[in-house]
């Protein structure tokens, strides 16, 4: 190992760093425009509630509707329950498939991608057919149907959660970590919850955000399961009104942003804590 190449190597890399930074800003700007312009257009139209004048009329009408908040809070609760369940199921599965059952990987991957190819309307009718008669009678009441809904959402989140977790597991050296933990005498529960989960923070966060997004806006299954969540509410609004749906989109955007910000913040708070303990 020679030491002389070090100085020239660092020197030549300094210039690419600044052009690299400029390039990064440029790319970020262009892509941001792509994402922000449609939102700006939606916002502009939401202000056209009153003739010839820009006003918040559409927003006023939206908030005057008393069925908006209950629908929204139902969706939020469903989303949180789904995230928890999905995490608990997917992480051990991905872990075991990576470490001990690699032959199962294609099967598991296929199953996690099934939600994409079963149309939602077909899925919900299948679910109703299966679970509407004794002994598997789960659709009799609103609340029992809600539980079924959450279970279906968990499955719908599999593709996103599994892919995130899988990417995360690849990024950390799972085998070595496991062996190290085992040699220290840890059992599999400890390994999972005190070694694997904390190291997958970023991946879990990504998966959680995507799951949240799916559950909040899901439409078809909630509709046919007769659930009063945000999806059906928004769909109703869109069908009949002209300006309120844009206001609805902006409001949903803002509230979802806030919720995701909280999830992100919470996740990062935990990671800062974990990093502190690691450093010590």
């Amino acid at each position: 190992m020679t030491t002389t190449p070090v100085s020239p190597a660092i020197a030549t890399n300094k210039r690419p760093v600044t052009t690299q930074r400029l390039g990064s800003w440029l790319i970020y700007l262009v892509v941001s425009l792509y994402f922000l312009i449609p939102l700006a257009a939606t916002f502009y139209w939401s202000l056209r509630g009153k003739k010839d004048v820009l006003s918040f009329e559409a927003y006023r009408k939206l908030f005057a509707d008393t069925s908006f908040l209950p629908a929204f809070s139902q969706s939020i609760i469903n989303a949180i329950a789904t995230i928890f369940l999905c995490l608990l199921i997917v992480v051990p599965t991905a872990y075991w498939v990576t470490l001990r059952l690699p032959k199962l990987r294609p099967v598991v991957e296929f199953i996690t991608l099934l939600p994409f190819v079963i149309p939602a309307v077909v899925l919900v009718f299948g679910i109703i057919r299966l679970y509407s008669a004794p002994p598997l009678l789960f659709t009799a009441t609103y609340n029992s149907s809600r539980v079924v809904l959450i279970c279906v959402y968990v499955c719908l989140s599999f593709p996103y959660m599994f892919r995130s977790v899988d990417n995360g597991l690849r990024a950390i050296d799972v085998r070595t970590l496991t062996e190290a933990a085992q040699s220290l005498g840890a059992n599999w529960v400890t390994i999972l919850f005190r070694v694997i989960f904390p190291n997958l923070r970023v991946a879990l966060l990504s998966g959680a955000l995507l799951t949240f997004a799916i559950v909040i806006g899901e439409l078809t299954i909630a509709l046919y399961m007769a659930q009063h969540t945000l999806g059906p509410y928004m769909s109703d609004l869109t069908r009949s009104k002209v300006y309120e749906p844009s206001a609805m989109a902006i409001v949903a955007f803002a509230i979802t942003w806030a919720a995701m910000g909280i999830i992100d913040f919470v996740g990062r708070g935990a990671s800062r804590q974990a990093q502190k303990t690691e450093a010590e």
């Binding site: 312009i37 075991w96 990024a171 085998r175």
Partner: protein, 302 residues
Amino acid sequence: MKSNTNNSRSVNSTVGGAKRPPRIPIGHWLGVLPFFVFSGMFLIAPTLVLAYRSLEGPEGGLTLDNYRQLASDTVMNSYGMSIKISLTTAILGGLIGFVIAWVVSMGGLPPRFRLITTTFSGVAANFAGVPLATAYVFTLGRVGLVTALFKMFGVNLYKTGFSLYSFFGLTLVYLYFQIPLMVLTILPALDGLKREWREAAENLGATQIQYWRYVALPVLTPSILGTMILLFGNSFGAHATAYALTGGLFDLATLLIGRQISGDVLHNPGLGYAVAMGMVFIMAFSIFIYSILQRRSERWLK
């Protein structure tokens, strides 16, 4: 890592050197049991119902006729179109998403941008469906904001042959949720690129390009491939956005299914279910190809 695999191999070989099939402890199966129970109850069972109903004829009774109709022009065209748009948006979305993920994680931007990007990505992924289609009508439709802007500069977008209601338009709209999906899912993998590797490569005199070509990309390829197939599936199964934007006049498999099962005009649900089963097979085939590619890319990692 090597020692582990040697151990399991020694467990499996008998005294005479013959191989015994590897015994997987029951405990390992328990770890994946919840997954299989859930997916069994809420994914696989309905798929079986779907398969059964795809064999139903319009007058009841079982028939293979629906599957025979799969070979018709209409259905084949719709599969082709769905695959085309899914491939396009998967590759484009994958590339752009990867670049953005790289930009916010190691591109030299302030760390706050990463938080903004991930949060926004989560929200943008939700924006699919009617709100997204409407937003694009507001933007690039005939009375859209950007169209009006172009008009101010004397350019009539729609006279140039551009139309939001086309393959190009649909791709543009799909990318709105494909890119964030890629960003969010590939970020964990990018985080796994250790700084030490970068520094070691620099120490050995590697340039940026060489680092990426020989170190970073090979490590990332399995994750990139996996995420791209996620994007492919996401686009393949998309229905609401396409329906809202094209009014069902576009030939996609999901729209075809909707017409047969939900519409007011045609009513051959058995055919709809058969087309859906066809989609399941296409997806399975894609995964098959993906796992071959993935195994190849993982080889050097071992």
